[in-house]
């Protein structure tokens, strides 16, 4: 069972690191993807586009290494909650936005329901991991 949790921790961490790479490499395109969600005031789009990928990368790397795992699990569960809410809001508002999740390609064929399902699963995983790392019994673990 412990092994499964370790696999989940490392796997989720790797996923976030991978997701951050394209965004870090192409900040202007990622800003465009963020702007397409039409959720943020114009003044916040660039700061979010600058900070978000690195938050993913650092927290993901921490999970992979098992250092500061509780903090990283908290950050990533928070991020997944925000991502899921943003996608759900777009679906409800009928916006067919490019996800901007793993690639900044604005022409990536968008199917919001698939994104929502995928993010929902990831959200559950990250919440499970958060619950696991925050358990008092688990406190002696990193």
């Amino acid at each position: 069972m412990n092994r499964a949790w370790t696999a989940l921790r490392v796997g989720l961490g790797l996923l976030f690191v991978l997701a951050s790479l394209d965004k870090i490499a192409h900040p202007a395109l990622f800003a465009q993807a963020v702007a397409h969600y039409r959720l943020l005031p114009a003044g916040l789009v660039n700061p979010v586009a600058i900070l978000l990928p690195w938050t993913e990368a650092v927290a993901g790397l921490a999970l992979v290494c098992g250092a500061f795992a509780r903090g990283a699990a908290l950050v990533l569960a928070g991020l997944m909650t925000v991502f899921f809410a943003a996608l759900a809001a777009s679906l409800v508002r009928g916006l067919d936005v490019a996800c901007g999740c793993f690639t900044v390609d604005v022409l990536a064929v968008p199917d919001m329901r698939w994104y929502l399902l995928r993010d929902g699963v990831l959200l559950l995983f990250s919440l499970a991991l958060l619950w696991r790392t925050l358990r008092p019994e688990g406190r002696d673990r990193p």
Partner: protein, 210 residues
């Protein structure tokens, strides 16, 4: 109850502290890399919708959508040589269509950094040779429904920037006019175009993808 509370605090507090440390580290990295990266973003974006050009420059009387396909259908691959039928029609209309507002290099850079979509009005081969990063290819031989399909995810009032090779090339203004006829109200033209962009040393993307 007391013990439950203190236990929550004992568990949650370290996690919060860890999270703050990670966020701080991420922010420091983001600031450093963004400052040194050539494609770094300005922290404070230019106010995109209310940029230097007043929206009033684009008339509210937009050709109804239903009329557009007819007006655009004759648009042929030879459109760059022949006068654009769409603009001819607009010119003969009671209210002459003003040219789309133009932006200079600095404004274009600010709009680009703010994530505004750029549209390359040149032919596909020129686009593949090198275009502004993120720009979509909208060559003059596109039919209006293909042009619409390019912008499928955007609202009609979204800011857009059309550009061509240099100020001597009319395709940027023609693309802007075609977009205006399709109902897009926020189109601007970067008159300096690809030549001015490269001349100022800004990066370009090669190939058929944005």
């Amino acid at each position: 109850m007391q013990t439950a509370m203190s236990r929550v605090r004992a568990v949650l507090l370290p996690a919060l502290v860890q999270a703050l440390v990670l966020l701080g580290l991420a922010a420091a990295l983001a600031v450093t890399v963004n400052a040194s990266h050539p494609g770094g973003l300005p922290w404070k974006a230019a106010p995109v919708p209310a940029a230097s050009v007043p929206d009033a420059a684009v008339p509210d009387t937009v050709v109804p959508d239903a009329a557009v396909p007819d007006a655009e259908a004759p648009d042929s691959p030879a459109a760059d040589a022949a006068p654009d039928p769409a603009s001819e029609e607009a010119a003969s209309a009671p209210s002459p269509s003003p040219a789309a507002p133009e932006v200079d290099l600095d404004q274009a850079l600010a709009l680009h950094a703010a994530g505004v979509l750029f549209m390359d009005a040149r032919f596909a081969a020129d686009y593949a040779d090198g275009h502004i990063p993120g720009a979509l290819s909208a060559p003059p031989d596109l039919f209006s429904d293909q042009l619409e399909a390019l912008l499928r995810d955007g609202p009609k009032d979204r800011p857009l920037v059309a550009y061509c090779q240099d100020p001597g090339c009319p395709l940027g203004q023609e693309l802007a006019e075609n977009l205006r006829l399709l109902g897009y109200t926020g189109v601007r033209v970067f008159a300096g175009g690809m030549a001015e962009w490269i001349g100022a040393g800004h990066p370009m993307t090669e190939g058929e993808k944005p």
